[in-house]
Symmetry: C3
Subunit: 320 residues, 3 copies
């Protein structure tokens, strides 16, 4: 490069023209996007927004637990107004995100007629969701109590609400699970992944979880889509309730939708790092020791430790 070229280069990079060949990069990126899949998406309107869904979860959380997550100036008399106002604004936003999802997942193009149908469906779904909120709150109240009862380090209700990632994860999960049950799987997954990002706890919104559920510490926990968990179950960090095999179809792609995750019955405790894979059943009242690897069902009231697991239950690793 000539000295003159260099001088111009420096000048231009500080006068705002840049040095990169912008037009060429933009052109190459357009080619890379192609016209098919992304173009079709654009014509179906905007996608749901992760930021909006994060705000929606915060709104629902503060409406369910205004004492802990509401504004700081609430009184006995003002709290219902706060709840009503927050809930209304939040459900309205959720309805809009629902409409975006329905439009995205709809096969047809968005003609005027279809929009009306989708709007009606969105309104109907959110009304069903709203009606479930008191039930969801009752479940969460019991989860909070289970956290307090289950951890010797817990000192107050405020500590449980503010500081337990397992409590944050179950709040997200119980809300996401309701959306999943209504068929809004994309919205549900965005919410569960937001909890995964902030807590390290990865619960698929499809998982069915009973009352008084508690996860302590939680980083690295994975609970799969078709897992079923009973009442009063306690998990520690790094526990996986996963799939063992992924059967392939004729084209070599994984088959979707099979029941492939464990069933954990009532009153089971699973210690840190234990891995349970496949559609097996852990019988009620069982204790699974830390780092244990289980790929077969165990009867009720079993106490599975690592040594036992190796001789009795171990059969060679996931998917092998």
């Amino acid at each position: 490069m000539s000295a003159r070229g260099e001088a111009e280069l420096v000048a231009s990079s500080w006068e705002g023209d840049g040095d990169w060949d912008l037009a060429r990069v933009v052109h190459a990126l357009r080619d890379a996007r192609g016209t098919r899949s992304d173009g079709a998406s654009l014509r179906r309107g905007p996608l749901p927004s992760r930021d909006a869904l994060d705000a929606i979860v915060r709104g629902l959380r503060s409406a369910l637990f205004p004492t802990h997550f509401g504004s700081s100036d609430l009184t006995d008399t003002s709290v219902d107004y706060f709840v009503g106002h927050t809930l209304d604004a939040t459900l309205r936003s959720l309805q809009q995100q629902t409409l975006r999802t329905l439009a995205y997942e709809s096969e047809e193009s968005v003609a005027e007629r279809t929009v009306e149908v989708l709007e009606r469906r969105a309104a109907h779904l959110i009304a069903q969701f709203a009606a479930r909120l008191p039930y969801v709150r009752a479940l969460l109240e019991r989860d909070v109590q289970a956290a307090y009862d289950g951890d010797p380090a817990a000192k107050s209700r405020a500590e449980i609400m503010f500081c337990y990632p397992g409590v944050s994860a179950i709040i997200h999960h119980r809300l996401a699970h309701e959306l999943y049950e209504l068929g809004l799987t994309l919205l549900a997954r965005v919410i569960s992944e937001s909890a995964h990002s902030s807590t390290g706890i990865d619960i698929h919104p499809g998982a069915t979880i009973g009352e008084r559920f508690f996860i302590d510490h939680g980083t690295g926990v994975v609970i799969g889509e078709t897992a079923v968990i009973g009442d009063r179950v306690r998990l520690y960090q790094g526990v996986t309730l996963g799939a063992k095999r992924f059967p392939l179809d004729g084209q070599g792609a994984v088959v979707k939708g099979l029941l492939r995750h464990p069933i954990i019955e009532d009153d089971v405790v699973i210690y840190a790092g234990a891995t349970i894979l496949g559609r097996v059943t852990i019988g009620r009242g069982s204790t699974i020791g830390g780092n244990v690897w289980v790929t077969r069902s165990v009867p009720p009231y079993s106490q599975v430790s690592q040594a036992q697991a190796q001789s009795e239950c171990f059969d060679g690793g996931a998917g092998i």
Copy 2:
């Protein structure tokens, strides 16, 4: 639903009235909250705020390390003004959060007299906290040096400060531990959980940690409330220093406050995924191999690998 009903439904959902029966949901949520625990909380005034505490940690961090976390236009002459101003504003905010905690944890209702007592106590506590900051900074300086010395991939001091989750976690911990020692356990826990969320490293603020501490990678590390860690200790991702058993009281609830976590003496290295449970002692200079499970004490200068651990130290999993 009649065609007319459907039309009205669609209209209303877009005119802002919503379709959900808001009054009924708000009413059900009020019933669910009950009157006792949450009502009492409201009368004790606002709870501490997690957002405020996140800002406080950022403020303290930029006052302790203005070169790396202060504003980008600092010079040799302006840096002290930045530190003084930031520290003053941050400590003031911390004092306010302290007052909220004291009010929340106080048994009595907040009469005028009590507020004065609590304000005096908050001011006293924060003065003690402020006086400890130079000591905390000296400790952190040595932790930063330990990170640089301990990782072959570390290339500069800026990389250590900006990119090492273990350094972020220990900055949070050393600040939180000071608050914990002053009895401000709720504030301390909110700060430690914020670090857990962003780093995957879960250190209870009660843990006692010596000089030149380094955690590499860090995701999944758990260090319990009563753990004691000596000088020059190095941990890798997924290490648990946890409790082995949770004794229950007469009502079946876990007993709180026992010494239940390991003692790690000076110069110990614990590799990824190792789990050490219970009030055991890992003697000075020992090396604990990856994925090892230890529930008994080991003498100084031990080298514990997985095979040894299974024959000598393993006794069947946590809490079984």
Copy 3:
């Protein structure tokens, strides 16, 4: 303390003077900072900003995938304008951060002459980076397809883009790796650590990763600086591709820059929690079972389960 003293204390703490001895703390912190390392840093100008780099990654991501991460009102005709505008603003910001890094890493003080040289270098580096973006996008497109093909729970392209931490991590990694290859290791590390914080997946930007790479769940994954990964490799949560030993130099500090992480050949699957340490080679088409610990090379098409690993491959833990 006299009653009068107490009253003054309370008053002062609420009139804004504080109770802490601010001047003393500021003075002690200045002494603690010393004059050498931090002072030198200040004279080299501002350090790169983590917030700015987070915004840069968001900008690049929305320019590469405008349908999913661009503004919500894009149409077929407006999308190129959005891409061009976003890219230009983002690259300009990246150039500024690059200049800061070059100034920080430069040995000399920042005289006028040096600034010009650094500016020219920054402009040249970013032009090279920009030219690589279409290639990076093509790689990412195949990673997204691999995620869809590899997970039975995946239901739509939007779900893959919004909800898969492994996809977020590989987007960050492929951008960071380009910066690393250009010698901008500090910027690269800030970006990779941002992904680590939000996904729990810790990929050093130096790692070389082939096409169609997929990490499922991902929390706790660690991939070291000198790791080399082939095409169509799939990893699950908690997999470590790490170093086995850290040789020390004459001063007892770790030696930097050695090839010390595994080589994973094409079409390998590594299940949850497996740990592979040292410069070993996992032969093409192999399957490494969950929780397996490997510190020796394995031939192509091996199926390594935990039992085999213990008798054949296990040699006693990391670094022992």
